[in-house]
């Protein structure tokens, strides 16, 4: 876990689509970290190139769906001469357990990383029981 190791490249995975997209463009699976603390579940998604206004987060039928659109207009007038990664939108879905308090989910984005905080509902927060 030390920061001294060499950083490797993680190949982008193209999204295996379960439903058809009508808009043209490629979709990739953003790299995700999920960790849990006593009070909440935190989800971190790497979506480089996606501006804050182009992130769409939806919850429907217990599925949390995150979609990030990149601005391809920035690449319009320039000619690629050497490429190592492909550019595309991002999409990923997560199934939520009913332990999550849906109304309290918050999201913020910084340096292309989206952080979603999913607080646990009151019933699911672990309780310490003191021994008398």
């Amino acid at each position: 876990m030390s920061g001294s190791q060499e950083l490797a490249v993680r190949e982008k995975q193209e999204l295996a689509q379960q439903e058809e997209k009508t808009a043209p463009g490629r979709y990739y699976v953003p790299a995700a970290d999920i960790f849990e603390t006593d009070g909440a579940l935190t989800l971190l998604l790497e979506m480089p190139g996606v501006a804050k206004d182009n992130i769409d987060i939806q919850i429907e039928n217990d599925v949390l769906r995150v979609e990030g659109k990149i601005n391809s207009a920035a690449y319009k007038d320039i000619e690629p001469v050497y490429t190592e990664y492909n550019v595309g939108h991002y999409a990923r879905a997560f199934t939520l357990s009913n332990k999550i308090d849906r109304d309290a989910i918050t999201a913020q984005v910084e340096n292309g990383v989206l952080t979603l905080t999913l607080p646990k509902s009151k019933e699911a927060v672990p309780r310490r029981i003191a021994v008398n």
Binding site: G3, S4, Q5, E6, L7, A8, V9, R10, P24, R26, A31, A32, D33, I34, F35, E36, T37, D38, L41, T42, L44, E46, M47, P48, G49, V50, A51, K52, Y75, D77, I78, E79, P80, V81, Y82, T83, E84, Y85, N86, V87, V109, N111, G112, V113
Partner: protein, 140 residues
């Protein structure tokens, strides 16, 4: 899928095919071979070049860019932090340090190089040095 041209896909596919044969020598041999972090794309706009890299989760203070002649060096480190008491369910984001240099086919005007880091994308504009530009000679 092929409703409209996709220059990235086409070029990336072509390059991968060429790499299977032998390493791409567009950026000359060794330090700039693919597979190094961060992955980058190079674009040309007129005489000038632009280098674009995906650096999500890295703040601009953790990035260092050096330019000399034809070479651009990009180094820094990325840290992924969790609270101490957290239990990690999934870990796909990688951390560590990186250092790579790229040799361009043009000479860069060091003083006019600009860099911008926004939404996890680093863009370095590399203007071609005036003395490196071809001169047209009028026939007298």
């Amino acid at each position: 899928m092929a409703l409209f041209p996709d220059p990235f896909g086409t070029l990336l596919g072509l390059q991968n095919a060429l790499d299977a044969f032998r390493r791409s020598d567009w950026l000359q041999s060794s330090p700039s071979a693919g597979g190094s972090y961060p992955p980058l794309n190079v674009f040309r706009k007129g005489d000038d070049f632009a280098l674009v890299a995906e650096v999500p989760g890295i703040s601009s203070s953790d990035l260092e860019i050096q330019v000399k002649g034809r070479t651009v060096r990009l180094s820094g480190s990325k840290t992924v932090k969790y609270p101490e008491e957290a239990s990690v369910h999934r870990r796909e984001r990688l951390q560590g340090r990186f250092d790579r240099s790229i040799t361009l086919p043009i000479e860069v005007d060091q003083d006019r190089v600009t860099a911008e880091c926004r939404d996890g994308i680093l863009a370095i504009t590399l203007p071609r040095a005036e003395r490196d530009k071809p001169r047209s000679i009028r026939i007298g």
